[in-house]
Symmetry: C2
Subunit: 305 residues, 2 copies
């Protein structure tokens, strides 16, 4: 790993050097390093590019890091990662991807992540996407995430794309059995001429399944964002989705949240709000000595925290 | 007009006999009676079925009733009604449609209504849809409403479909110039195996244009409802959309509201909630002596009032 790759690793996975616990670091489409533990096994897939992560039932307080670093212009990397999380686990999975593109050709990473979450298991999943590099080539990330949740399992997803990704088409599909709970916290910032599409489809299939899906986003410059969320209530369940977006400059934001109640005991709520930063907020911070740009930056940072 | 037609007229337009002011009553695809005033002219279209309603600039406190009654099984009626509302008017337009179908064939009325609302004009528009009759033939109503609003005009639409319409696909498109304001209050109840699709597309094209779109609906039995609302903010504008739905029995409800901000000064908000009647509400009314059915009916009536 060179200096650029190490810096990107820090951006996407908060890693200084190799992490504790199990990990699999992928750089420019190849395995850079891997570590397994007694409870967490990682094996290379034989039919397609990607890995299988198997976490033994009952594994507690362990983590898996599977960051991906792309620093080669022109690389198009597609990877299938399957997570088998045993019953009664309590684990953290960190799966960021960073692209450094200084060249003229596009660099693209498409990750297909499938989660099979066993009964009563608890998973915290963190996914950070980051791009940098002053080349004309685009930095493209198209993640497809599938979450299959068994009875009474709990998944908390933190999905963050703060900077530098030129084009992203994110799709997250989840199906929840009885008593399962899915929490999603998405934070998204686009700038320049970037475009981001974020789609969630959550099927609440079992009694007492629930989801709380909150997206906060900021669109600057000429960037375009589309947020689609669909919650399907197919049982006695509850779902809440919220989309708060700050629009700046000449950006465009589209929010199309959908609720479908197929069961009399489905309770579904949605809220969305799109607006600019209130003038008085900026004035207030300017009276404290900040410039207008600093005031805006502070408000945006606070909103996305 | 026979007794059935007169009863339907009362249901859709609250009319006992002929109304005051201008009116055009259409029964089974034909003109039944018409009245014009000094300020409000109604003329039959020559190229297609339908009428032109021309309201002189400055007309205040006048009303136009254009109810439609269908009591013939197998009739498929399509009508184009254009409203030209002059500047500075303040008028009420009532345009209900009722179908009595005792036969085996479907009865359908499709009304295409276009409103050209002049500067500073104020319009209250009431549209009630109603169906009855114990025949196997369906009662179908597919209204398409187009609203073109000039500077500082104000339109308030009350769209009501409480009972007996087997199938409806309602589309309402509006475009608002600077300072124009559109208020929509929709109330919808479906029962049996009815289906209802309600679509709104509101383009806020001028500075200080605004809209407030509220839909309240109840879906009973095996009925299916779909609510689509799209607000496009293309200027310094504000938009609010709200969809509250009560689900009962084996009904299905789909709500897909969309917000698009194409301008930094567009402030757009959406809320949606789908759920069943709270058990404690029913229990409370039952302790006051109502049966469970009566309690439910009272809550539904209150919700749709």
């Amino acid at each position: 790993m060179d200096e650029i790759q190490e810096r990107i690793l820090m951006e996407v996975a908060d890693l200084h050097g190799v992490p504790e616990g199990a990990y699999n670091i992928r750089a420019n489409g190849k395995l850079a390093s891997r570590s397994t533990t007694a409870n967490i096994d990682i094996t290379t897939k034989e039919d397609v590019s990607g890995i299988d992560i198997r976490i033994k039932p009952g594994t507690k307080h362990e983590s898996v890091h599977i960051p991906v670093v792309v620093s080669e212009s022109g690389l198009k990397d597609m990877v299938y990662n399957d997570f088998y999380i045993g019953e009664d686990c309590d684990v953290v999975i960190v799966a960021g991807c960073g692209i450094h593109n200084c060249g003229d050709q596009d660099a693209e990473h498409d990750g297909i992540h499938r989660f099979y979450v066993g009964k009563n298991a608890k998973v915290k999943y963190v996914e950070k996407h980051y791009g940098e590099g002053d080349g004309r080539g685009k930095r493209i990330l198209n993640p497809l995430t599938e979450v299959h949740m068994e009875e009474n399992s709990y998944v908390e997803m933190e999905m963050v794309q703060i900077k530098g990704v030129d084009s992203t088409d994110r799709v997250t599909n989840a199906e929840l059995a009885a008593g399962a709970k899915l929490i999603v916290r998405e934070r998204l910032l686009t700038h320049g001429t970037q475009s981001a599409v974020s789609t969630y489809v959550v099927d609440l299939n079992g009694d007492d399944a629930s989801t709380d899906l909150v997206s906060r986003s900021v669109a600057k410059d000429q960037s375009i964002q589309t947020f689609n969320s669909k919650i399907n209530g197919n049982a006695k369940c509850s779902g809440h989705s919220e989309c708060d977006a700050i629009i700046m400059d000449d950006a465009k934001i589209i929010a199309v949240p959908g609720l479908t109640a197929n069961n009399i005991d489905a309770a579904l709520i949605h809220e969305a709000a799109i607006g600019k930063i209130a003038g008085e907020q900026i004035v207030k911070l300017m009276t404290l000595g900040l410039t207008e740009e600093e005031a805006e930056a502070q408000i945006v940072n606070g909103f996305l925290k």
